[in-house]
Amino acid sequence: MHAIEVENLTKRFGDFTAVDALNFNVERGEVFGLLGPNGAGKSTLIRMLTTLVPPTSGMARVNGFDIVRSANDVRQSIGVIPQAMTSDLDLTAQENMSIFAKLYGMPREKRLGTIKQLLKDVDLEKWADKPVKMFSGGMRRRLEIARGLVHEPKLFFLDEPTTGLDPVSRVSVWEMLTRLKAQRDLTILVTTHYMDEADKLCDRIAIVDHGKLVALDSPLKLKASIPGKNILEVSFSGAPPNWMQALRSLPDVVDVKSEENVYRISSHNGPGTTVAMMEAARNANATINSLSVQSTTLDDVFVHYTGHQLRDALQAPVAANSPFIMQRA
């Protein structure tokens, strides 16, 4: 049984199709990354899978439960961290955890121990009795991760868990997730805008655009699947005249620029060009002083599949930033 099975899942808002007949499976134990531009339908997809939004058509099974017919079984078996920070600011970390443990129907005797362990796992043990409004963004996120795991689910949904965090907090959130995944044998479905994170941490990545799946594979295979866009930075000593010309005629080279002895070679095929360039240097008796090759990044993959244009789509207004929200300081 797959952790998540999605079949022709579709969501339309009026005549706008947010999610368009998606099909994919998530295997047990993998970290599944969901990437896509703003408005691509990632959040709608996650909200359907976590039973927050009913699908227009198609079906999905989460942990074997139908998301419409067995919605409550789905809810009981998954942990969810919504995009917005949803901790109760006036309550302490411990109280926030405790309320959710009760909402998941955890028996009293199990509650305290589990909460204590989880707060320890996310390094918030010593802040357990402090109100969450005194926490930094990273601490709140970690608390929410602990909260999402309070009923010990095996499947964990995170919608942009690191958005808005500083680099140190981002790293610590991911470290925590990696550790928890190993300890608890979790399957994780995560959306993010940080390609470096997705590259390092996801086993497989789905790229969604206009509500459709445009690519789905491991990060490595995704990068290999697109025409190369590599940059070679090389410096030579003893380069012959017309060297620039020679470099330009190497296979797969798009462009060459130079500054004194340093050349920047753009290529469709980094490895091929590198080998040919070394061969040419040996033949010309030029010595390579330094060489670096920048390989294809997931950013390139993303842009390749989703295009360059900005997505200025309208979406449902979010009231969370309204100045009228009562601040209980």
């Binding site: 909200r47 976590t50 039973t51 927050l52 939004v53 009913p54 409550n72 079984d73 809810r75 009981q76 998954i78 969810v80 919504p82 995009q83 917005a84 920070m85 949803t86 109760d88 006036d90 309550l91 109280e95 309320i99 959710f100 009760k102 909402l103 998941y104 129907g105 109100p131 979010v318 009231a319 969370a320 309204s322 009228f324 929200i325 009562m326 209980r328």
Partner: protein, 370 residues
């Protein structure tokens, strides 16, 4: 069941940390009670009345003496003598005096001839309350003036003797029932309206919706938590309000217990109403925008500040459907007349029915999804 408790527990814990809600919902109505109570409640005193005596006969002097007696005792008005009517009229128009008595020439002769003489009274009727008080006071004065010194052997006069069943009720006490309901309303408005929508907008509810909590558990949790806070506000008001308004035997435990029943029923009714109004709202501006309007539409037609009998038909219609009306009536009976719960049976039944109706409608409209 424990899930309902989790929702309530969370709300009450949060409330304990920042009890601003209840403080606001207690202070605001109390201030209104005191200010309105004293602004409208007092008896009118020391009105300035000009007297022009164009007669100077003994009967005219008797009228003036009686006026002075009023000034010295009830002190509803004080008299100022004028020698001519023109000056007095000018002062009346300029607002230096609130009324003018003119004893015409020939007054004494007509009295002695038994020819039903008249005394003219001119009042500044831009101020209805003062002019009415003045007229009433003079009517009473002339009633005494007319009564014969020696009673005839057979009296054909029918006299009305008023029996006041309850001790004198100052306006501030008349106002107290409405104030108690108002504090419950403000609490429901802030707790069930503003904070509820803010939590929704912040995404707090999204956090609950992904847990296996059932729709009715969520609604019941929100409602009971809101009602608990409204009950706290109402309970403080029945105690502090009774003391401030000077209700006789203010802390009578039996009456307190009866009032508590009504506080609970009223809180449930108003929080359910609020929940129904807010069930599909997501913009935090909405509860703030309708706060004042809702307050006016519910509070004033309820008979809390003025008797419903004086209302035009459309307003009477509002007052019939308005839960405030029944709550205010109930508290009036309990506080001003010290009745038992049987006397407010209709009020309790209406409020309970209103709760069931609004809560059912809200449950139907409530969406378990975003």
């Amino acid at each position: 069941m424990h899930r309902i408790w989790a929702i309530i527990e969370r709300d009450l814990r949060r409330f304990r940390r920042s009890p601003v809600l209840v403080i606001v919902s207690i202070i605001m109505p109390l201030v209104q009670l005191i200010v309105l109570g004293y602004a409208f409640g007092g008896k009118i005193k020391h009105l300035q009345v000009g007297v022009v005596d164009e007669d100077h006969g003994v009967p005219a002097v008797k009228v003036k003496e009686m006026c002075q007696a009023v000034a010295a005792n009830a002190s509803t008005f004080e008299t100022i003598s004028y020698s001519d009517q023109a000056t007095a009229m000018r002062d009346l128009r300029d607002g230096r005096i609130g009324g003018l008595i003119d004893i015409p020439p020939q007054f004494s002769r007509k009295v002695l001839a038994g020819a039903n003489p008249r005394i003219a009274m001119m009042t500044d009727n831009t101020d209805q309350f003062s002019s009415t008080a003045l007229e009433d006071s003079f009517d009473a004065l002339l009633g005494v003036y007319n009564s014969p010194a020696v009673q005839p052997r057979t009296t054909a006069n029918v006299n009305l003797s008023v029996v006041e069943v309850y001790p004198y009720v100052p306006y501030i006490q008349f106002l107290l029932p409405g104030t108690i309901v108002l504090s419950i309303f403000v609490s429901a408005m802030i707790g069930g309206g503003i904070i509820f929508i803010d939590d929704k907008a912040r995404g707090l509810h999204e956090g609950y919706l992904v847990t296996p909590i059932r729709k009715f558990e969520l609604i019941l949790g929100f409602t009971l938590a809101g009602a608990a806070k409204a009950i706290i506000a109402g309970t403080v008001l029945i105690t502090v309000g009774s003391l401030i308004a000077g209700i006789p035997d203010p802390l009578n435990p039996l009456r307190m217990a009866r009032m508590l029943v009504l506080v609970v029923v009223t809180s449930m009714a108003l929080i359910s109403m609020m929940f129904l109004i807010m069930v599909r709202v997501s913009d935090p501006l909405v509860p703030r925008a309708i706060f004042g309007m809702l307050n006016t539409v519910l509070y004033f037609p309820s008979g809390a500040v003025y008797p419903t009998e004086s209302f035009p038909g459309w307003m009477k219609a509002i007052s019939v459907a308005d839960p405030f009306t029944y709550a205010v009536h109930g508290f009036k009976e309990l506080i001003l007349k010290n009745t038992g719960l049987m006397a407010i049976k209709v009020d309790l039944i209406f409020l309970a029915g209103f709760t069931v109706l609004t809560l059912s409608a809200a449950t139907l409209l409530f969406r378990r999804t975003l």
